[in-house]
């Protein structure tokens, strides 16, 4: 594993780039979520599964919101 500390700026740059890409692709991830995702992916999580999870969570939250709206 390469040295982590000196690469802090590189890391920051990378995250910026990724955020930009994410924004381009309209993925709907904010910075924190994105960083979590990056960490998960780096640890070897299946991106397909992760993506499905995220989508599901979003839907769940949406539906809950709409039901809340309807209900209230």
């Amino acid at each position: 594993m390469a040295s982590v500390a000196p690469n802090l700026s590189a890391v920051r740059e990378t995250m910026d780039v990724l955020l930009e890409i994410s924004r381009l692709l309209n993925s709907g991830l904010d910075m924190e979520s994105l960083s979590i995702c990056v960490r998960l992916c780096e640890q070897g999580i299946n991106p397909e599964a992760l993506s499905s999870v995220i989508k599901e969570l979003r839907k769940a939250s949406d539906s809950l919101k709409t039901s809340e709206n309807v209900g209230s």
């Binding site: 709907g28 990056v38 780096e42 809950l64």
Partner: protein, 890 residues
């Protein structure tokens, strides 16, 4: 800015859940559990970890959305990412972002399908119980989804089975998830990629039982009856484009769809007339349905032919069809995958199916063309189809041709290298006749089946192929020679793949011809070697010449000498063993004894059929026994020809012999008979006639020996030495025999000539008889006179009267009698001469008008001093005019 510390995935996951749903950690328990389950079950990614692919995909997506600037920007960013090298799994995050970007939860800009489609969706969605049954099963079907997304790589499986792979996409509810989610599921479906779903649903064969499964969420059961009702309504139903699309997709496989059915009287697919569909849609559907029709056609053909063994290409055909179909599927699928807003309209189908349709059309046309043919004919038909300028079609036909010719090539190689022919369906162009026995193997057993010769194999090649196999079989069976010629085995036998077949047949000048030629040379050379060394073919040919064609002069002469006293007897008194004994004696006494015993033992005497009045001369013949492989060259017909020629030559020889005797007699007796001056006229006539005859016979002999026999033999020998295979030898030999027979006047055309010649020969025999009689009488007379003179001298020596008056009287009377017989002899001779000359003149006339040049030259020689021309007006016409006249007649 979050720090990249190493937290455990679970923690991360939980914080992600909180983040996205915006709830506290306690509330997201369900979701978290679900997330964990999902992640845990799908740990291994099913797609390729190819960063390049993903980035390409992203770019394509941008382009599709007409955001080229963004695409460029993304490229830039990606490059930066790569150069930074911080991330290890770039592809992972990129893929994640990409898949998240497709999320329809965000209102996508392009998500617009035609209203009918979106309306239709829920109906369709709920009408398929197959889908409804799904919640019970797998939790998540992402692997299937992504698998189908990547199915462009997998073309091996058949089309129908791959359709079965099309499972549900979208997250379905897992059992633990409570019923509150079922609503979500229904809603999510509604919002899901509409066309994709319709696609998946359409993949389900309509034969799935329509009974719904248990545990159906209430919301769905409610909508089921409604949808069912709608779809089955007959009149004036607004058929959605999606259902039409679905039907079309069924039609592509040859199955009737709900609305588009096969109408048999017109043999085409049509939309059910009861359904109201706009005209343009109808047209489009018809055009698409054509594909299904073509598919049916090809399928029917291949099914029919699947029983024939030689049609391994059937499977190939089918795989071609499925290949096209798979491509179609994949294209559809990719079109579907590419984006949310892609919808599977009929128009898209039209465009996508254009290419496969042309291919299928070609196939169908090919099928039509090939109806009812098999084997080599089929190959010819397919080959004929390849003569087109369109490179695409040519490639397709070439491919099919290679598959079709593969079994033919197999046949060919087996035949060439092993001589084996296993052809149950009579598809190869070499036919074997099982009823033929070994002795006729070479000539009759194997023939070319001309209709089965593929058009890319020339006649010459086919002939060579036939010859090679025939030679091998001949070696095996007739010569009992099973040793495989070494080089033949070394020659490659690899024709195991259709690709080889294709290469060979398309490269006609090169490898194929070379292979055949090589095999041909090797086999034929070996066969000839075997025949010559083991069976002494050429030796026997020479022996035939020596004995049957009277080549061995001293032997024949001696034989004739020995046989003469035997053969003058009537034919019925002859015994074969006597004659054979004489033959043996002759052999031993002459040079013939130095021949190899192999040859001598085949020499034999043969007595022809006896007609009444025949002398031995008429029935005697030599014979030469042949058997085994030699009999292939010297067949029965050949042997009978030889015997006929022998007969003729023997007769001519006999004439020569007779004349020699006559001449001998004349020479001997001339001096003796000088004392009888009254005979001198007769004798002179005899001499003259005899010399005419001698001249004639000499010329005939010359002609026969040199012009006919020697020349033909020389030709034959040259050809045989240069022969490359047994067929050449047989042909040369037959030509030889034909020439001899024609020139010896033995064929049907020369019948008059031959008759004339026979007449001449008869005259000669008569002359011989007459002369002999005359000589006998003359000699007797001479003897008596001499005796008289002797007695007279003796008596005078004793002192008595030499002769008494009575004796003298008797003597004189006798002399006078004798002298009176002389004119009779004279006239007899004259008549003989007249007949003879008449016969010769006739013969000459016939000769000059004959077509054969050598016979014409014979006439020159026979009449060199124009002796006959003077007497025969017909001969006075010059040769040119006769030729002209002849050509007028002929």
């Amino acid at each position: 800015m979050a720090s990249l510390d190493q937290k455990s995935p679970n923690v991360l996951l939980q914080s992600l859940c909180c983040r996205i749903t915006g709830k506290s950690e306690a509330d997201v328990a369900h979701q978290f559990q679900y997330a964990v389950r999902v992640i845990g079950s799908n740990y291994a990614p099913t797609i390729e970890r190819d960063e390049f692919l993903v980035s390409e995909k992203i770019k394509k997506e941008f382009v599709r959305q007409r955001r080229e600037a963004d695409a460029a920007l993304f490229s830039e960013l990606h490059r930066k990412l790569q150069s930074q090298g911080v991330l290890k799994n770039r592809w992972s995050i990129l893929y994640l972002l990409l898949s998240l970007s497709e999320d329809p939860a965000k209102p996508p800009t392009g998500y617009v399908s035609c209203p009918s489609l979106s309306q239709a969706l829920p109906r369709d969605a709920h009408s398929t119980p197959y889908y409804c049954a799904r919640p019970q099963s797998l939790p998540l079907n992402y692997p299937d989804r992504t698998q189908s997304a990547q199915s462009s790589g997998s073309m091996g499986s058949s089309g129908i089975s791959s359709l079965g792979v099309y499972a549900m996409n979208g997250p379905t509810a897992t059992p633990p998830i409570d019923n509150s989610r079922t609503q979500v599921v229904g809603d999510s479906l509604r919002q899901q990629l509409g066309s994709r779903l319709a696609w998946n649903l359409s993949a389900v064969p309509p034969s799935v039982p329509t009974s719904t499964s248990k545990g159906l969420p209430n919301s769905m059961t409610r909508s089921v009856p409604r949808s069912r009702r709608d779809c089955d309504a007959n009149s004036c139903v607004e058929i959605s484009e999606a259902s039409l699309v679905r039907d079309i997709l069924y039609v592509f496989q040859g199955i009737d769809g709900k609305c588009v059915k096969m109408s048999n009287p017109e043999n085409c697919y049509k939309i059910d007339a009861k359904i109201a569909v706009s005209k343009s849609l109808r047209d489009t559907v018809s055009r698409l349905a054509e594909l299904g029709w073509l598919h049916n056609k090809v399928r029917k053909y291949t099914d029919q032919r699947s029983l024939d063994r030689a049609f391994g290409l059937v499977g190939q055909h089918m795989s071609i069809v499925y290949l096209l179909y798979m491509q179609l599927q994949v294209e559809d699928d990719q079109g579907v995958n590419l984006g949310v807003d892609s919808n599977l309209t009929l128009r898209r189908l039209l465009v996508w199916t254009y290419d496969p349709k042309t291919r299928l059309k070609t196939l169908a046309a090919l099928v039509d063309h090939c109806q009812g043919r098999k084997g080599g004919e089929l190959a010819s038909a397919v080959h004929a189809y390849g003569k087109t300028g369109d490179p695409y079609m040519r490639a397709l036909v070439q491919h099919i041709l290679s598959l079709v010719s593969h079994p033919i090539l197999n046949f060919l190689y087996r035949w060439i290298y092993d001589g084996e022919l296993e052809d149950m369906y009579h598809e190869f162009f070499v036919a074997s006749d099982p009823t033929v026995k070994t002795d006729r193997l070479w000539h009759d057993k194997y023939t070319l089946r001309k209709s089965m010769i593929p058009s890319f194999i020339t006649r010459d090649q086919a002939r060579k192929v036939l010859l090679i196999g025939k030679s091998i079989n001949f070696l095996h069976q007739v010569c009992q020679d099973r040793t495989p010629p070494g080089k033949m085995i070394a020659a490659s036998k690899s024709a195991d793949s259709p690709k080889d077949a294709a290469e060979l047949f398309t490269d006609l000048e090169g490898a194929f011809q070379g292979k055949i030629d090589a095999a041909y040379f090797e086999t034929s050379k070996y066969l000839l070697d075997v025949l010559n060394k083991n069976y002494l073919l050429l030796e026997h040919m020479k022996a035939m010449r020596r004995y049957l064609l009277l080549g061995q002069g001293d032997f024949i002469r001696h034989l004739m000498d020995l046989l003469k006293p035997e053969l003058v007897r009537p034919a019925t008194t002859l015994y074969q063993h006597n004659l054979t004994g004489i033959l043996e004696t002759a052999v031993r006494a002459t040079n013939a004894q130095f021949d190899s015993p192999e040859i001598l033992k085949r020499l034999d005497v043969r007595l022809l059929e006896v007609s009444p009045g025949d002398t031995g001369w008429d029935v005697f013949s030599l014979d030469y026994h042949v058997e085994g492989p030699i009999a292939t060259v010297f067949t029965r017909e050949c042997m009978s020809h030889y015997l006929r020629v022998f007969n003729f030559l023997w007769r001519a020889k006999r004439m020569e012999y007779i004349l020699t005797d006559i001449w001998k007699g004349q020479m001997c007796n001339a001096k003796l008979l000088k004392r009888m001056p009254e005979l001198s006229g007769v004798l002179h006539q005899c001499h003259v006639l005899a010399s005419e005859m001698v001249h004639f016979i000499h010329q005939m002999q010359y002609y026969i020996t040199f012009e006919v026999l020697e020349c033909s033999w020389d030709e034959l020998w040259n050809k045989v030495q240069q022969a490359q295979d047994l067929d050449h030898i047989i042909a040369a030999h037959e030509v030889f025999l034909d020439t001899i027979i024609t020139r010896c006047l033995l064929d049907a055309n020369s019948r008059p000539l031959l008759n004339q010649l026979r007449a001449i020969f008869d005259q000669i025999i008569e002359f011989q008889n007459a002369q002999e009689a005359m000589y006998r009488a003359a000699l007797e007379e001479l003897q008596l006179r001499l005796q008289f003179e002797e007695r007279k001298a003796q008596r005078e020596a004793e002192g008595e009267w030499g002769v008494t008056a009575s004796e003298e009287e008797v003597e004189n009377k006798r002399i006078r009698d004798f002298q009176e017989t002389v004119p009779k002899l004279c006239t007899q001779l004259q008549i003989l001469t007249h007949f003879y000359q008449g016969a010769v003149q006739q013969f000459l006339v016939l000769l000059t008008t004959s077509a054969d040049e050598s016979l014409q030259f014979l006439s020159f020689r026979l009449d060199f001093n124009e002796h006959y021309k003077a007497r025969e007006p017909r001969l006075r016409l010059s040769l040119g005019s006769t030729r002209g006249r002849r050509s007028l007649h002929t």
